[in-house]
């Protein structure tokens, strides 16, 4: 077995584009679910509207890259308003139902045959990232970071992506330590109590939904630019649930929870995959009965079992505080 190869693939995945995309998604969800207690099951829709706004404006309509970004951010705000206005006055579970349905509507809309001319149907869209890579100041060539070797475009998108992650974390950190962030936590605990203290709960919940959605939609941009094409099937509900798994793994209501969660999660997902495949190639009797494609499924079983064990023995996640969780038991 080539341990160096296994290590480099795991490392590449732990800090790769998917880790950034899901990290940004989970940072937004952390504000929604971790701090405000809003059950947003439609986070993938925020990524979809941002990515598709960029792609449609640049690729179909010929606008510049920055117009696409600004419209994408604006569309994320519009989506948050559309989801929030009817549901945030109601009990928390209504938001969960509406968001999961809305995310599916967005996905089916961009996938539909009728709108194939605009959104490209199941093939999706491409040819929108030239404006982004034209800004790349890094000279052409291959760059080695430890055992990993990347071209200049990959390095550029990773730098921009991780810079956005740091920026998003900084925003969340500054917000949750403010009096505004205190209202968020109060709403999570009991919104009637917060109302009785003279706080406009509806407004603050809406602000939280918008900010978390916009932070998450940055992941949509990175996804689109990193892969230089988008298709509708990435924006399904399982994407949102991966982000929830990351958030809970890292520790909800902890600023750095989503960051640690996404790195560990993607290292595990890709690490177990390459480990199993290497084991099959090396003919280890324990795993040699599997084919490569079976191994790809078995890794989810292993990671899933690992997450279950985590929930049993460390329900607060890696960074969470057990004492805090014990309060719910009363």
């Amino acid at each position: 077995m080539d341990w160096g190869y296994i290590f480099s693939v795991t490392l590449q995945s732990a800090f790769g584009i998917e880790a950034i995309v899901f990290g940004l998604m989970a940072i937004g969800l952390n504000l929604h679910f971790g701090y405000t207690g809003l059950l947003n099951f439609g986070q993938s829709a925020f990524l979809a509207v941002a990515a598709y706004s960029l792609a449609v404006l640049v690729s179909d309509l010929g606008f510049s890259f920055w117009v696409g970004i600004v419209v994408g951010l604006a569309m994320a705000v519009v989506l948050a308003l559309l989801l929030g206005i009817p549901t945030l006055r109601l009990r928390a579970d209504y938001l969960a139902i509406v968001t999961i349905a809305a995310a599916e509507i967005v996905r089916l809309l961009v996938r539909s045959v009728a709108l194939k001319d605009i959104f490209g149907g199941s093939d999706g869209l491409r040819d929108f990232s030239a404006g982004f890579y034209a800004m790349n100041p890094i000279p052409v060539g291959m760059y080695s970071i430890g055992p990993v070797s990347l071209n200049e475009d990959k390095v550029f998108v990773l730098i921009v992506g991780w810079a956005l992650v740091v920026l998003a974390l900084l925003i969340v950190w500054m917000l949750v330590r403010s009096p505004w962030g205190r209202i968020l936590k109060g709403i999570r605990e009991d919104e009637d109590a917060v109302r009785s203290l003279g706080k406009n709960v509806y407004l603050v919940k809406m602000q939280s939904l918008i900010i978390g959605g916009v932070l998450g939609c940055l992941g949509g941009f990175i996804y689109a630019l990193g892969y230089q094409n988008i298709g509708p099937d990435f924006f399904g509900t399982d994407t949102t649930f991966f982000a929830y798994a990351i958030l809970i793994l890292g520790g909800a209501a902890r600023v750095l929870g989503p960051l640690l969660g996404t790195i560990v999660f993607w290292a595990l997902i890709q690490g177990t995959d390459v480990l199993l495949r290497s084991g099959i190639d090396a003919g280890f009797p324990l795993v040699a009965w599997m084919s490569g494609s079976q191994a790809a499924v078995v890794r989810y079983i292993i990671v899933g079992a690992g997450l279950m064990l985590l929930m049993i023995f460390r329900p607060q996640g890696i960074l969470g505080d057990r004492k805090e969780l014990a309060l719910d038991a009363r």
Partner: protein, 300 residues
């Protein structure tokens, strides 16, 4: 009985003096009302939960709202504080109509409530519970939240005030604990202290003594009477007749959604309509000897 009550402060005496000439009738006019409600009706389907024709609450007094279970006390409370909207009626607080006003604006207007089932914000520290109570915070506006220099000095003065109130309510030792780790009685104290952070003119307490041990009940009663001495108006719902007798200047009795009697504690407890509706029997020996049978209403 008044003779067993703690010594009355000047504001308590003033409140009782002012109420001395008020007739002991439902809907009686008060000399200086802070809350006036007219024909407040709330129906749930076919059930009329609240049907209050007219009621006034005297400024600076402690008024108790009593009545058997299902009398509509908590519903009336929710209506007054904007947590529920009535089908008809109008009510005002200090001259401002509260009709249709959302609950957070009622609180900002100076009428702050607590809840029957205590709402301590469990996963927040006691001191953060207190800070949340303060009104008009610059840092609660999203545009300022990211810039601590806009709210830091206000935050410091809020914290000073919170520490003073925590000391007054004997919670200073719990300052850094999670509110969820407090006992039931301490949560009641915290909720009351938190409500005071916004400097309300009127405090609405929904069963402040429910589930609190007798020793702490005494402390709570002391705190409520001290609020009156600070110039606050208090309305409280309570099942504990001893508590009502000890601290209330005026008692309003509800049954089946209506106000059936008003008056000072002693007069109300001898009122026939009240006795008919219910009374905490064994609390009053004079009534038991008169041959009326009572059933004690247990707090839910």
């Amino acid at each position: 009985m008044p003779d067993s009550a703690p010594a009355l402060g000047p504001r308590a005496l003033a409140a009782r003096q002012a109420l001395a000439d008020v007739p002991h009738l439902p809907g009686a006019r008060k000399p200086d009302p802070i809350v006036i409600a007219d024909t407040v009706v709330r129906r749930f389907g076919g059930l009329t939960a609240v049907d209050v024709e007219h009621v006034e609450l005297q400024r600076g007094a402690i008024t108790a709202l009593i009545g058997p279970n299902g009398a509509g006390k908590t519903t009336f409370f929710n209506l007054l504080t904007g947590f529920d909207q009535p089908d008809e009626g109008d009510w005002s607080f200090d001259g401002t109509s509260l009709k249709g006003m959302p609950s957070y604006k009622v609180a900002r207007a100076g009428m702050v409530r607590t809840f029957q089932l205590t709402k301590a914000l469990s996963k927040m520290r006691v001191i953060d519970n207190m800070r949340l109570g303060a009104g008009h915070q610059k840092g609660e506006r999203l545009v300022n939240a990211m810039f601590p220099f806009t709210w830091r000095s206000q935050e410091n003065s809020i914290t000073t005030r919170a520490d003073q109130l925590l000391a007054r309510f004997n919670l200073d030792a719990k300052r850094e604990d999670f509110a969820g780790s407090l006992s039931g009685g301490q949560r009641k104290l915290l909720e009351m202290a938190r409500a005071l952070m916004s400097d309300p003119r009127m405090l609405m307490l929904d069963e402040p003594m429910a589930g609190v041990n007798p020793a702490l009940t005494q402390a709570l009663l002391g705190h409520v009477t001290s609020l009156r001495e600070d110039g606050m108006t208090v309305l409280f719902v309570e099942h504990d007749m001893d508590a009502v007798r000890h601290i209330a200047d005026w008692v309003i009795v509800m049954a089946q959604g209506r106000i059936i009697a008003e008056g000072p504690p002693d007069s109300v407890m001898h009122n026939d309509a009240v006795v008919d509706a219910y009374l905490g029997g064994h609390h009053d020996q004079a009534l038991t000897t008169s041959g009326v049978s009572f059933t004690e209403e247990a707090a839910p």
